[in-house]
């Protein structure tokens, strides 16, 4: 409904690009003049040491932060800044580094909340809940049940998520993002704090999401092994600057990357 000049992006074409983006908080520069793109259908990893500006980059992409300089092009529409609502309506979903769920609500309600934008906006029917609104609710519920099935979280359907262990919370959060049927899925350290088995599961889900739904994924991850397995292309940030961009193998061999990871003095 937004941005009438949006174009349909085919697989392999650029879905989103950031150009010369800089972001600072007060005097601190979090991102300096970074450009890169995300192609439709790929799994794109953003890596870098702590404080490299990875999460800030995601926040710029989904509109939580507004860069002072640079531009974001999403589905062919150029924007000076993205707003969270624009990002969500445009088809960008995300998860958070430390899990941001609706803790007092059940798994089901959390994932249903992900359907917010897909639902009819007719406020009046919503108030009454009956008639078309009820029909609609059933359709969305079916979609949500498919996601619950996909992520194998049937057993926690009715559990308030605040009570779940961390690994499951991350899965619910992924489910909520999937419920938006996003074109671009931003995952901020999806495997952080998980044990090996949970990590393997999460990896499988990420690959399945990419395969099954064809969702483009941009993810931040620390575990290099995971990144090398999952990602088609990797962009490396260090101190807010881009220091490398390419396939996992290229990046692994890059001298600047090796230096950054081994902590060579600048």
């Amino acid at each position: 409904m937004r941005a009438p000049d949006e174009t349909v992006i085919k697989a392999g074409q650029t879905l989103l690009s950031v150009e010369n983006v800089s972001l600072s908080f007060g005097g601190v520069k979090a991102i300096r003049n970074v450009s890169f793109d995300i192609k439709k259908g790929e799994i794109r990893a953003i890596i870098g040491p702590n404080g490299a500006g990875k999460t800030s980059m995601l926040n710029v992409i989904n509109g939580f932060y507004h860069p002072q300089e640079g531009e974001i092009t999403f589905k062919g529409v150029k924007r000076k800044k993205m707003r969270p609502h624009d990002a969500a309506t445009g088809g960008i979903a995300r998860t958070f580094q430390n899990v941001a769920l609706f803790k007092s609500m059940t798994t089901l309600d959390n994932i249903m909340a992900g359907r917010t934008l897909k639902m009819n906006k007719n406020f009046f029917w919503q108030l009454l809940r009956y008639g078309p609104a009820e029909q609609e609710e059933i359709q969305h519920r079916r979609k949500v049940e498919e996601i619950i099935d996909f992520l194998e979280i049937q057993h926690i359907r009715r559990v308030p998520v605040g009570r779940l262990p961390y690994g499951l919370q991350k899965r619910v959060e992924l489910g909520r993002a999937l419920a938006m049927e996003p074109e671009l899925l931003l995952l901020d350290e999806p495997m952080a704090g998980m044990n090996l088995e949970e990590k393997e599961d999460m990896c499988r889900y990420v690959i399945d999401v990419n395969n099954h739904y064809g969702t483009t994924i941009a993810l931040i991850e620390h575990d290099m092994g995971v990144v090398m397995d999952l990602a088609n292309r990797v962009v490396v940030l260090d101190y807010g600057q881009k220091i490398a961009d390419g396939t996992p193998d290229e990046v692994k061999a890059d001298k600047a990357v090796i230096d950054a990871y081994l902590g060579v003095a600048h």
Binding site: R141, R142, E145, E146, I148, D149, E152, Q154, H155, R157, R158, D208, H212
Partner: protein, 659 residues
Amino acid sequence: MAQDAVDKAVDTFPKFLLVNARERGHRPAIREKDLGIWQTWTWAQVKEEVKALALGLKELGVERGDKVAIIGSNKPRLYWSMCATQSIGGIPVPVYQDAVADEMAFVLAHAGAKVAIVENQEQVDKVLSISDRLPSITHVIYDEPRGLRDYDHTRLKWLNEIQDIGRKAMETKYSGDAWEKMIAEGKGSDIAVILYTSGTTGNPKGVMLTYESVVVSSRNANAFDNLTEKEEVIAYLPMAWVGDHIFSYAQSYVAGYTVNCPESPETIIEDRREIGTSYAFAPPRVYENLLTLTMVRMEDAGRVKRAMFHYFLGHARKWGEKILNKEPVPILARLIYWLGDILVYGPMKNRYGFTNVRVAYTAGEAIGPEIFRYYRSLGINLKQLYGQTEASVYITAQPDGEIYADTVGKPSPDVEIKIEQNGEVLFRSPGVFAGYYKDPDKTAETKTPDGWVKSGDAGFFDPKTGHLKIIDRAKDVGKLKDGTLFAPKYIENKLKFYPNIKEAVALGDKRDYVTVMLNIDLVSVGSWAERNNVIYGSYQELAAHPRVYEMLAEHVDEVNRSLSEEGPMAGAQIKRFLILHKELDADDGELTRTQKVRRGFIAERYGPLAEGLYNGAKEVDITTELTFEDGRKGNISARVRIQDMKTHPPAAAPMDKAA
């Protein structure tokens, strides 16, 4: 009489399916929770599904006598696969889905399976990974297509496609009642299923059961507990296990009751609650887990709720079983129990999904008496049974109103039981297996020419109740010099039932009498010591304390008394005991890592003590090497006292209860 004739004619499960589709076609046969909703298939619908699948399999080349492996968790289509295979004369071979690839390879190769019907990608991967070892397999059929889209589909097929093939064949090649004719060709004496049992040693054995065996067992079981088409059961135990095969397939087909397949292994409790099963079957660990879960929840509950829970539970412990057994109970106790049912027992049973349960069985291994009594005190008719794959499950079961925590019940209908000289339980019934597949030697070893099957378990009939008690594996049961049966684990378990006794080691095989070495439980005895002003400085000191000896002597005496009432066990009463000066420890090799005592090793390590127990010594000095927690080694010396015990004369069995 006429009914009998009909019963005789319906002698295979596909025939039962036809009967059910005809007589109760509108009733639910099976349900599955999928996408949060219970999907139901009636018997009439199941017949159509099975028919399509059966003819599809036929088109794939499955012939009479061919084996079809079925691998996966409890799903309607996998149960249908079983019946579909049987309907065209094939033999289903359900395989444990969590078996590792090697085990699975052995079973599939040994059975010579032609087709494998599997649940999902995980199982497809497993079968494909071993396919080079399985020349007999022509096709792999899967139920759940997720993730399999890009696989090579030359030998891989989706179950729905097979059904489509079957439906097409229905119109051409197998039109009319062709399928029904195929079913009619099946005979009661045919092999119905091959169930592989994992022995403790060696390769799994394929137990062949005929339709006759399984049908008779199912019929008897249904009659024993008055099961009707109205029962609801939940299928969640492995399909390859004989228990599930009988409960969730055979008995359901015979009685026409409804089987419910849970959404996922994690949702069983919730699913059971929604269904409200009326007939349940589970190994003890399931009941244990439920109870643990309850206790954990209660710890988190508010003070009032917790107090209420404990009060009413205490009341139930005192009166619940009596009420369930219809014994006379004071009116006030009844009233409080009724109140408890509203406030505590009812909600709890609802949580467990046992609100509507008429009969629940525990089987597979011994259940803790506390756990057993807990469920019974809530008013759940939990009973024990003793069964084996080789018997189509039923060997003994507890009739209503005759429930004991430590017996496995009376012989099931049509089952004969005898106890061998060495204590081994032998059984004979129409339900016994036809033989081990491709293993006549093993068959001959287990099954005598006149039809008796060696169970491998030792047991005896309890003179007090007339029920069978299983004491141990037969090979672990020894004999005293005078020939009396000596079941060390049985005696040890009786002793360990006392909280003060942590471990017990019974000696007696090829000796004159039975003696035991005990370990006290430091927590329990320690708190007793504190309450009774017994001063002690160390474990060793406490263990040697005269008053501790006194206390344990009482326990041993009680055990002796209970043994004296148990017929064949009466001769194996404990003559002497001692309390070990150190705790048995896995680090010292005295226990296995699973905390089981290593009897032989202990007898050797504490040689002087063992000797002392049999040479009449009052005290024995001993020095033992031990390993400290940090790995250092040291020595511990002690003078260990040996206590003599009185034995009780064997009690005569009351005549009215004798079997």
